[in-house]
C-alpha cells in the first residue's frame, strides 16, 4: 500500500497562467489531455496535484480523470525532478550487461528508490528503455549527458562529479 503525501503548494499566478495558455493552445479539449500534460510537465518539470486541478478545470473534466491518466503513464511524475535527473537504461542490452547492479548502486549511494528525488533536490532516479546506444551498454544518462560502459564501481565518481559543481553541459533543461 502506498499513500502519496503531497505537501500542499500554492501555485504562482504566472504558473497558473502558463497552464492556462497550454490548455488554450489545445482548444481546452478534454481529448487533448495527454498532450496538455506533456507540455505542462515539460514547462514545470512535474505535475503536482494543484497543477492537475488547474488542468482539470481548464479542460472541464474531473480531477480524478486527470489523476487517472497521470498515474497510468510512467512518463508523468508528481514528484519534482532533481537538478540532475539520473536515468539508468533497462533495455535488453544494458540489462544483460549489468544495468541492474548499476541501478542498485545508485539506489545505495543516493538512498532513494526509483521515481524518487534526494532530499537536497539534487538527484532524481529513474529507469528508461533503450537510448539507442546499445554498443555502450550499460548506459546511464545524467540530464542530457550519456555515460557508457558504466560499472557499479564508477557510480560513486559520477555522483561526485555532480556534487562538486557540475560540468556545465550536463545541466538538464
Amino acid at each position: 500500500m502506498k499513500i502519496q503525501i503531497m505537501p500542499k503548494i500554492k501555485l504562482a499566478d504566472s504558473t497558473v497562467q502558463t497552464i492556462r495558455e497550454i490548455c488554450k493552445k489545445y482548444d481546452n479539449k478534454e481529448g487533448e489531455l495527454i498532450n496538455v500534460l506533456h507540455n505542462v510537465q515539460e514547462k514545470l518539470g512535474y505535475l503536482p496535484a494543484e497543477v492537475q486541478e488547474v488542468v482539470a478545470l481548464e479542460l472541464n473534466m474531473s480531477v480524478a480523470k486527470v489523476y487517472g491518466v497521470v498515474t497510468f503513464y510512467s512518463f508523468f511524475t508528481m514528484i519534482p525532478q532533481g537538478e540532475y535527473p539520473i536515468s539508468i537504461c533497462m533495455g535488453t542490452a544494458c540489462y544483460v550487461r549489468g544495468a541492474e547492479q548499476v541501478l542498485n548502486e545508485f539506489k545505495r549511494q543516493l538512498k532513494v528508490e526509483v521515481g524518487q528525488t534526494t532530499p537536497d533536490g539534487r538527484f532524481s532516479l529513474s529507469c528508461l528503455r533503450c537510448v539507442g546506444a546499445c554498443g555502450l551498454a550499460p548506459v546511464v544518462m545524467v540530464g542530457d549527458k550519456v555515460f557508457g560502459r558504466v560499472a557499479p564501481q564508477q557510480v560513486k565518481d559520477i555522483i561526485a562529479e555532480y556534487h562538486e559543481g557540475c560540468p556545465h553541459e550536463a545541466k538538464s533543461a
Partner: protein
C-alpha cells in the same frame, strides 16, 4: 431497419442490425454470464467496457473468442456459447479474477447479494488454480460509504455511474496493471472529495468493494436501552421495495407488514416520514407561492425557479458544483430532518421526555441520509435531530437478525400523531412525486379553488428530464423535473446562464428518485424493478383517502398547536436550513 439472421447454440434468431450477441442471446432465453456489463434499460444507463471477458463465446470462423457484450451480431453468424473452449476460457477468466479476491465471503457485507459470488456459483468454480499477489489497499470509511478496494474487480460500473450518470466525477481508475484501483483524485478519502454520497456506486457495485456504513448494531443497542424512548420514521420508497428482501415480487407494497415488523423490533412509536413529507409541502409550497407572488409583482430580488431540497445528495452536489446558486433551492429541510426536528421538540414535549432520551431512527432508501443526519446544523447541543439512519437493506438485515417472519406478519397501522400521512407524502418516493405533491397543495392555496383532478400524469414517468405546464387558474406554471445528477446539472446550467424558463424544478439524485436509492434492495441491473416500485408508490397514493398535504388533520393540528403557520418564525427555526459554499 436492417434485419440480421444468426444462430446461437444452433437456435436461429432474428435481430435488428446493431444488436449485440449478448442481447440476441437474451432475446431467445440464453443467458450468457456477465460481470462488468450492466444495462438499466428504462433509464438509458449502460456499462459496457468489455473488460472482464466473462461473456466470451465461440464464433464459427473467428480465430479468437468474442466478448458477447460488445460484439455485434452479423448476418450468418454461428455462435456457440457453451463450447468447451468458451467454457474453459470463461472459467479461467473467473479463476483469475478470484485469485486476488479476498476469500472472506462468509463475513462480507455483500454475502448473498454479490454478483461475483453468484457468478462463481453459477459457473461451478470449485478450485482456483492460480495463486499470486494479493492487493492490500487501505479501507476508506466516510460518513455514508465504505470503500474496500481489495474487493474491486475493476468492472468500472461505479466509475460510469459517478462520471457519466451523476457527473460528480469523484471516482476514476488510477494507476496501472495490478496496482490499478478505482479511487478519488490523489487517492484522497471520500469525505475529502466532492462525493455527494448518492450511493449509486454502491447500488451497482457487483462485489463488497463499495458498501454503506452499517448502523444496525447501534440501533439494536438503542432499542435495548431501557432509559431511551426509541421512535422510528420510514421513508416512502421503503414500503415499495422492502418486500424484495424477503422474496416478494418487485412492486409489492408492504406498508402494513413494515409497521408490524418495526413494532416487533421494539420501537416505542412507529411513525412515517410521509407525515414530514406533508409538512415539507406546507413549507416548500408556501415558499414557492411567496416567491411566485413577489415575482409576479415585479420584485427584482426574488429568485426563480425554486428548486426542491429534499435530497441530501443533491444538496451536497450544488454546494460543491453550483455554490453561486445556493440561494435558489428552497430552504426547506428534507422530510427526514423535519421529522427529527419536530420529534425532538413537539413530540418530546408531548411525551415529557428530554431530547437526549429520545432516539430517532430513520429507515431510508438512501445512503446520503446517513451523511445528512450528521450535518452540524441538524443538531441541538450536540444532540442530533436524527440519531441513526439505516437503509432499506439494513432494515431487512435487522428483521432477519431478530427472527421475525416478515411474510407472515399482519398489516398494522402507523402510530399517531407523526404517522398520519396523505397520498401526497407517499409519492415523494419517486421522481416527479415531490412536485406533484407541491402542485396539489399550491394550486388550492393559490387559487382558493378545489383541484379539478388529483393525478398529474404529465409529471410522471421515467425520462431523465421532463417538463410540464400546469394551469394555475390562468397562470401557466412551468415545471421541470430531473432525476440523476447529470440531468440536474443540465437544468442548473440553464438556471446559471439565465435561460431557464421554469418556475419550479424538482431534483432527485438517484435515477428513478428514491425508489432507485443507493440504500434500496439491489436491482442487479434490472431496471424493471424500479418501474414496478414506481407503480407501487402511485398505487399507495390512489389508495389513500386524503391525497393533499394541507388536508392532513395532524399537520393542521401541528400548525394550530405548535408552529403557527408555514414560514412562521418557529417554522423557520425548526424546518428550514441554510446552504454552504463547499468549494472553499
Amino acid at each position: 431497419m436492417e434485419i440480421i439472421n444468426l444462430t446461437i447454440d444452433n437456435k436461429p434468431v432474428v435481430v435488428k442490425k446493431g444488436t449485440t450477441v449478448l442481447e440476441a442471446a437474451t432475446s431467445i432465453g440464453i443467458h450468457i454470464p456477465t460481470l462488468c456489463y450492466m444495462k438499466l434499460e428504462d433509464l438509458n444507463i449502460e456499462n459496457r467496457p468489455g473488460g472482464c471477458r466473462v461473456c466470451v463465446v465461440e464464433v464459427k470462423g473467428r480465430r479468437n473468442l468474442a466478448p458477447a457484450c460488445c460484439t455485434e451480431a452479423t448476418e450468418g453468424m454461428e455462435v456457440n456459447t457453451h463450447s468447451i473452449r468458451a467454457i474453459n476460457a470463461r472459467r479461467t477468466v473467473m479463476e483469475l479474477i478470484l485469485s486476488d479476491h479476498p476469500a472472506d465471503c462468509l463475513v462480507c457485507p455483500k454475502s448473498g447479494n454479490c454478483d461475483l459470488q453468484n457468478m462463481a456459483h453459477r459457473m461451478g468454480i470449485r478450485e482456483i488454480h492460480y495463486k499470486g499477489e494479493q492487493s492490500s489497499y487501505r479501507k476508506d470509511t466516510s460518513p455514508a460509504i465504505i470503500r474496500d478496494i481489495d474487493k474491486c474487480i475493476m468492472c468500472r460500473r461505479c466509475e460510469m455511474m459517478c462520471n457519466e450518470v451523476q457527473t460528480v466525477g469523484v471516482l476514476s481508475a488510477i494507476n496501472r496493471g495490478f496496482n490499478s484501483v478505482v479511487a478519488p483524485a490523489f487517492e484522497m478519502n471520500l469525505d475529502h472529495s466532492v462525493c455527494t454520497y448518492c450511493g449509486q456506486c454502491v447500488a451497482v457495485c457487483p462485489t463488497g468493494a463499495l458498501t454503506e456504513v452499517d448502523e444496525t448494531g447501534a440501533v439494536i443497542r438503542a432499542l435495548s436501552d431501557p432509559s431511551k424512548t426509541v421512535i422510528v420514521q420510514t421513508a416512502p420508497a421503503v414500503r415499495a421495495a422492502l418486500g424484495e428482501e424477503f422474496g416478494m415480487e418487485a412492486g409489492t407494497l408492504v406498508t402494513g407488514k413494515l409497521v408490524a415488523a418495526l413494532r416487533r423490533l421494539g420501537f416505542d412509536y412507529v411513525f412515517d416520514t410521509d407525515f414530514a413529507a406533508d409538512l415539507t409541502i406546507m413549507e416548500e409550497g408556501a415558499e414557492l407561492l411567496n416567491r411566485l407572488t413577489r415575482h409576479l409583482q415585479g420584485d427584482p430580488n426574488v429568485k426563480l425557479p425554486i428548486l426542491t431540497s429534499c435530497c441530501p445528495a443533491w444538496v451536497k452536489f450544488f454546494e460543491h458544483q453550483f455554490p453561486d446558486l445556493k440561494d435558489v433551492p428552497s430552504t426547506a429541510r428534507s422530510p427526514q430532518q423535519m421529522f427529527g426536528s419536530i420529534a425532538k421538540s413537539y413530540f418530546a414535549q408531548q411525551l415529557g421526555v428530554r431530547r437526549e432520551d429520545l432516539v430517532v431512527v430513520s429507515i431510508m432508501p438512501c445512503v446520503a441520509k446517513k451523511y445528512e443526519r450528521g450535518r452540524d446544523e441538524f443538531s441541538v447541543n450536540n444532540n442530533p435531530d436524527v440519531d441513526y439512519a439505516i437503509t432499506t437493506r439494513e432494515l431487512a438485515a435487522l428483521i432477519k437478525i431478530s427472527n421475525i417472519e416478515f411474510r407472515a406478519l399482519p398489516n398494522e397501522e402507523f402510530d399517531k400523531p407523526l404517522g398520519e400521512s396523505t397520498g401526497a407524502g407517499v409519492i415523494f418516493g419517486t421522481t416527479g412525486g415531490v412536485i406533484e405533491a407541491a402542485v396539489r397543495t399550491a394550486y388550492e392555496v393559490y387559487t382558493g379553488k378545489e383541484l379539478p383532478r388529483i393525478d398529474f400524469h404529465e409529471l410522471r414517468g421515467m425520462e431523465g428530464l421532463r417538463h410540464a405546464t400546469i394551469d394555475f387558474n390562468g397562470l401557466p406554471l412551468n415545471i421541470g423535473i430531473a432525476h440523476g445528477l447529470g440531468n440536474a446539472r443540465r437544468l442548473l446550467e440553464d438556471v446559471r446562464s439565465g435561460k431557464s424558463r421554469f418556475h419550479a424544478i424538482e431534483i432527485m439524485s438517484c435515477p428513478g428518485g428514491c425508489i432507485g436509492g443507493g440504500g434500496q434492495p439491489y436491482h442487479h441491473g434490472n431496471s424493471e424493478i424500479l418501474v414496478k416500485r414506481q407503480q407501487a408508490i402511485y398505487r399507495e397514493d390512489s389508495n389513500k383517502t386524503i391525497r393533499k398535504s394541507h388536508e392532513n388533520p395532524y399537520i393542521k393540528k401541528l400548525y394550530a398547536e405548535f408552529l403557527g403557520a408555514p414560514l412562521s418564525e418557529k417554522s423557520h427555526h425548526l424546518l428550514h436550513t441554510e446552504y454552504f459554499d463547499r468549494t472553499k
